[in-house]
Symmetry: C2
């Protein structure tokens, strides 16, 4: 990226220091939308793209039929300036990240954007460009990531094995676009759901108890993957409480 | 409450106009902690309680062994100044609300407070008092509610019938205590969870498909109860997509 790209800031955007300034915490995993472009597909539009020296977005005409991609992806906050992604092979996102050094992580809680980007390709009007990297113009915040390492692994699971890429990236810029920008983390919801099951345990029949118990153990696995130390402690406490009061569960 | 209780504001608190100013929306249901006191239990402490004319909290000594209660409860935002609660009979919260006109709804995302207030009685040090009504001192925000109607109903369910109270209350004051105060709503998480199941549908065996499908339909019922119009639309879209692509599901 150009060295002096932030000399003239657009007042509608607020540039922040790092991931902690948008309430991300080390070791937690967030639900985000990652936007990438297919650099090969872009070659034919290179004539229209221009280096921008400020925080203004590029002219929208550069996006006409641009091969951009948006996909919902979990982002692990490694520290204030670094993230890790676990990506299955064969997706547009992983291909685009293999082919270029930069991508953008978009922070949003918009259920329509999560749904559309899962079920279909988002149309051009959802995107703008920040230094030629696509982002979602409706995002609450976004950050620009620079890939520093890609490790390919084979993961064993119930259905055999799948190839995955573990992508480590440095966070180069964090831009807040709305006054409230909260990254989506499923930890507290795993706690709430477990507590709801807990309160219904006493009155439930054996079959329902078994299904609640399976669900609570799933929520425990989830918080261990995505949650905060407090959320992990909460789930441990709920599980201990059930184990002490309902001994016949496995 | 005293008419002129807000003449001298405590600068650490920010008084807001209504529920919309803490991001609540009409028709949505939020996970909160409701704090109440047992007015009968309080009679013996009346000598210590004093009318306060400002936003300062009461002297902590008034709380010694005070029969206060905190419980996780869903709060339906009826409009900017009114809420509705559905309470099962027999709990401290419903008894206390039957016996006095005021209670406080606490906004927090703290998983430890949700867990402790479900599993045990919160100890005195969690509470402070705002015009003699208990609230959680660690809350991000809270609002004072004045009961205007209680309707008792009998609800039929799988296990027979249970008595419930439907409590309608006016919101008299909204107080923000932290710069970020976001009420917990499960809607967007129901969408995220459904999307995760959706993306795994194709590779799943029949039994797993059936359990994913049951879960997605449960998430649909959940967003209909708690969520925003966008979240409801997202779930409808996901369900339509599955029904079109996997016709043999019921």
């Amino acid at each position: 990226m150009p060295k002096n790209h932030l000399n003239n800031e657009n007042p509608t955007y607020k540039k922040l220091n790092d991931l902690y300034s948008i309430q991300m915490a080390k070791g937690q995993l967030y639900e985000t939308i990652i936007t990438t472009k297919n650099i090969n597909g872009f070659e034919k539009y290179q004539g229209h793209l221009k280096e921008s020296d400020d925080l203004k977005t590029d002219d929208k005409s550069t996006n006409t039929n641009g091969p951009v991609n948006a996909a919902p992806i979990g982002v692990l906050c490694k520290n204030s300036k670094q993230i890790v992604l676990y990506l299955y092979e064969g997706t547009h996102t992983v291909n685009n990240i293999h082919n270029q050094d930069y991508f953008i992580v978009n922070i949003t809680q918009n259920p329509i954007i999560f749904t559309k980007s899962t079920l279909e390709d988002l149309s051009d009007e959802y995107f703008e460009y920040y230094h030629e990297i696509p982002f979602l113009k409706d995002a609450d915040a976004f950050f620009v990531c620079h890939v520093i390492k890609i490790k390919e692994i084979t993961k064993q699971n119930d259905l055999g094995s799948s190839k995955m890429s573990i992508v480590t990236a440095n966070v180069e810029e964090v831009v807040k676009m709305k006054s409230q920008a909260i990254p989506l983390n499923r930890g507290v919801y795993a706690v709430i759901e477990s507590l709801i099951h807990y309160t219904r345990f006493e009155l439930a029949d054996e079959e329902t108890k078994t299904s609640y118990w399976a669900r609570i153990k799933e929520m425990d696995r989830l918080v261990k993957k995505v949650g905060s130390p407090q959320e992990k402690a909460a789930l441990s406490r709920i599980i201990k409480e059930i184990e002490e009061n309902f001994k016949d569960l496995d």
